[in-house]
Symmetry: C2
Subunit: 153 residues, 2 copies
DNA sequence: TATTGTTATACTCTATAACTATA
DNA sequence: TATAGTTATAGAGTATAACAATA
């Protein structure tokens, strides 16, 4: 026949991500953060003086959505925005000391969360899981029908 | 040896779920549905006369949130709600013909999505992925380590 | 009093469209 | 005209608290 199909892997993935994601959100919230803030902080640590275009692409959100989060983060003293003298349209985003502090708190929370996830897993199993998830991501990203493109220039 | 830690598996899972989940939402939307509607329809097919308490638990949302979705679904003619004569507090939720029709449309969309995800995967790999995700879910559900954030501030 | 569900309200994340300011 | 970012607005999904109906 056509396909044995098995159980829907998309449903399993969604269910897992929901449960695990909520646990992570709770962990981050208890440490004074949230998922988008955490993703923004990670990007800023990797790329200390990012412009907002790069940031939005890295986090996977639209520019206006990023502005929304950065406004809150700036109001909370976590980041500063200043214009690039070389091109005054560009706003360079940088972490403040408070931002650094929050980053470290959230990093600890994330490590705790990850330890919980890893419980009972061998390193080989984690590597396998990571590899399989990567391929699944490729399956929806390498798509010809849905321009899901996160980054382009 | 303290933990070598590896790459954060939680981040990988979240990233994958975000990309894959958005692709799925797009697919469902094109077929006239959404993620919560799809989950509710699945539950109703499995348990044709569910009460709302069961439904909310199955979908993983609060009762008030379910009411919100059911109101819209009822207005769209997808479901009916009637009181259980044996216990008039209970509202039995049932699919209408239109609800059945939408279910089949979304099921087709979900199958298409799943085929896309399965591309390049062997059955053994899918089984492995399913098993690993299940164990990861268990790790956050069997919540002995982190009941809830202690106080902070 | 306890249980089932609804209403009222609000919050978070996200998005699009129109706008400002630079280039 | 084109690009970087902001403002205004909106919508989806979720939640808590107070409430009504029923047991």
């Amino acid at each position: 026949m056509t396909k044995p199909a098995g159980r829907p892997i998309g449903l399993t993935l969604a269910r897992t991500a929901k449960v695990v994601g909520r646990a992570f959100e709770d962990t981050l919230a208890a440490a004074g953060g949230s998922t988008p803030i955490w993703l923004i902080l990670i990007s800023l640590k990797k790329q200390p003086t990012s412009n907002q275009r790069e940031l939005a692409a890295a986090v996977g959100i639209q520019g206006a959505t990023l502005t929304h989060h950065l406004n809150a983060m700036e109001a909370d003293g976590l980041i500063t925005r200043r214009r690039d003298p070389a091109n005054r349209r560009v706003h360079q985003v940088r972490l403040t000391e408070q931002g650094e502090t929050l980053f470290h708190r959230l990093a600890t929370a994330a490590r705790t969360h990850d330890q919980r996830l890893r419980t009972g897993f061998g390193e080989d199993e984690l590597a396998t899981l990571e590899r399989l998830l990567g391929r699944m991501r490729t399956n929806v990203a390498d798509d010809d029908t849905l321009p899901e493109g996160p980054l382009e220039h």
